[in-house]
């Protein structure tokens, strides 16, 4: 399934904060305009209550809900749902452009594990990605929770999952010159926190992964372990530090980067479905 790269270009090179979402009850795709209106009213009401998002600036928030028909894994997946909040300052002239202040999108990429076990009237879009102020995320999230009886949770990414990501992504073939593969570790139990950044030439990383992976298209835990052990051993040889005892907090490759707090940035449209599929899987396991 290849989504039109032009339509999905806005997803790339942005830092998205990840959430898992339980299935939405009573969601109807035909009612997107109504939902947008209701959400807009809800945000305006919260502003009236004094939960001002921008202090001292008069802003009208316009809400737009749209479907991204091609952004799904299979026909069994629900199409992605995009929520965009734009502002137009009341002070400026009427033909000034709306400024996008927040975006969030729900998505399911091969999320059959969840959707096949769910009763009628439930819509499965387990992955929620946001970009913009936390205050808007909270407003949008609470409205969805109230309206569709669903539950949002921040999606944290464990060191184990981060190592899967770096092994997978470092092994991807890229035609142009790629950026370095970087792993960031945080060293625990020190009086002052210490971060170690380990950068590897992308060709070396890919060459290493190619010697480790036995079947193209398949990855096993053992292969990821061997890959990481090689990196740890190399580092230990030079610096006498056991990175395996530190906490892997962030991985960066030319394909995408991911942080343990559940923040990802996707850099390459070709691998967008692959990354989303992995994130959908993580979201589903957090829900179940």
């Amino acid at each position: 399934q290849n989504a039109d790269p032009q339509k999905t270009a806005f997803l790339l090179r942005k830092a998205w904060t990840l959430y898992s979402v339980t299935p939405l009850h009573g969601f109807r795709r035909a009612r997107l305009r109504d939902y947008a209106r209701l959400l807009s009213a809800s945000i305006a009401a919260e502003k009236q209550k004094g939960l001002a998002v921008e202090v001292g600036v008069e802003l009208d928030i316009k809400v737009a809900l749209s479907s991204l028909a091609d952004l799904r894994g299979s026909e069994l997946d629900e199409a992605a749902l995009l929520v965009q909040l734009s502002s137009r300052s009341r002070a400026s002239s009427s033909n000034s452009e709306d400024k996008l202040v927040w975006s969030g999108w729900f998505c399911s990429m091969f999320g059959d594990d969840l959707s096949e076990n769910v009763p009628e009237h439930f819509t499965c879009l387990p992955l929620f990605l946001t970009h913009g102020a936390e205050s808007y995320t909270s407003l949008v999230g609470s409205w969805f929770q109230k309206t569709f009886d669903c539950c949002f949770r921040r999606l944290a990414i464990s060191p184990l999952n981060l190592s899967w990501m770096v092994a997978m992504w470092a092994g991807c073939k890229l035609d142009r010159a790629a950026s370095a593969v970087e792993l960031v570790f945080s060293v625990p139990r020190l009086s002052q926190p210490l971060d170690i950044s380990y950068a590897i030439h992308p060709e070396d990383a890919k060459a290493l992964w190619d010697t480790v992976q036995k079947t193209p298209g398949e990855i096993t835990q053992e292969e990821v372990d061997v890959f990481m052990d090689c990196l740890y051993a190399h580092f230990h040889r030079h610096f006498k530090i056991h990175l395996s005892a530190a906490k892997l907090v962030k991985v960066s490759t030319a394909i995408a980067s991911a942080h343990c707090d559940g923040i990802v940035k996707i850099l390459h449209s070709q691998y967008l479905p692959g990354v989303l599929m992995l994130l959908t899987e993580l979201a589903i396991s957090q829900i179940q």
Partner: protein
């Protein structure tokens, strides 16, 4: 007695009392701790694996900090015919319960409980395999 790895220093061999139970501690956040345990296992005499060894996995309360594959740990337990216990030391209740469990196991391994020996652990492990 606590040790960061095996083998124990040979200088103190003559002062050391009999060892009844070895508990290998694996921190779920640290791949290094698993590797350390795997290396140390090579220094343990085979007779200990008749019920006098157990693996204790700590830090399981923090799922998001998981750095090792728990399947690998369970397989380690199967390979060495020894039980794998999971616990969270940061929670006082679980810490106390785990300590009690270990003391109970130690009493059996030291022969203080009449009618039950360390071999019983091995038989219990075997039974779950057959099921």
């Amino acid at each position: 007695h606590l040790a960061t790895s095996l083998p124990l220093p040979s200088e103190r061999d003559h002062l050391r009392p009999r060892i009844d139970l070895i508990v290998f501690m694996i921190d779920i956040k640290s791949k290094y701790s698993l590797k350390n345990v795997e290396t140390s296992l090579a220094y343990v005499d085979a007779s200990f694996f008749l019920g006098k060894v157990c693996f204790l996995v700590t830090g399981v309360g923090r799922v998001n900090a998981c750095g090792i594959d728990t399947n690998a740990v369970c397989k380690l337990g199967e390979t060495y015919c020894s039980p794998v216990l999971f616990c969270e030391l940061e929670l006082e209740g679980i810490r106390a319960a785990t300590a009690q469990r270990l003391v109970r196991m130690l009493q059996i391994c030291a022969g203080h409980i009449p009618g039950v020996s360390a071999l019983s652990f091995v038989l219990l492990m075997r039974k779950s395999d057959d099921d």
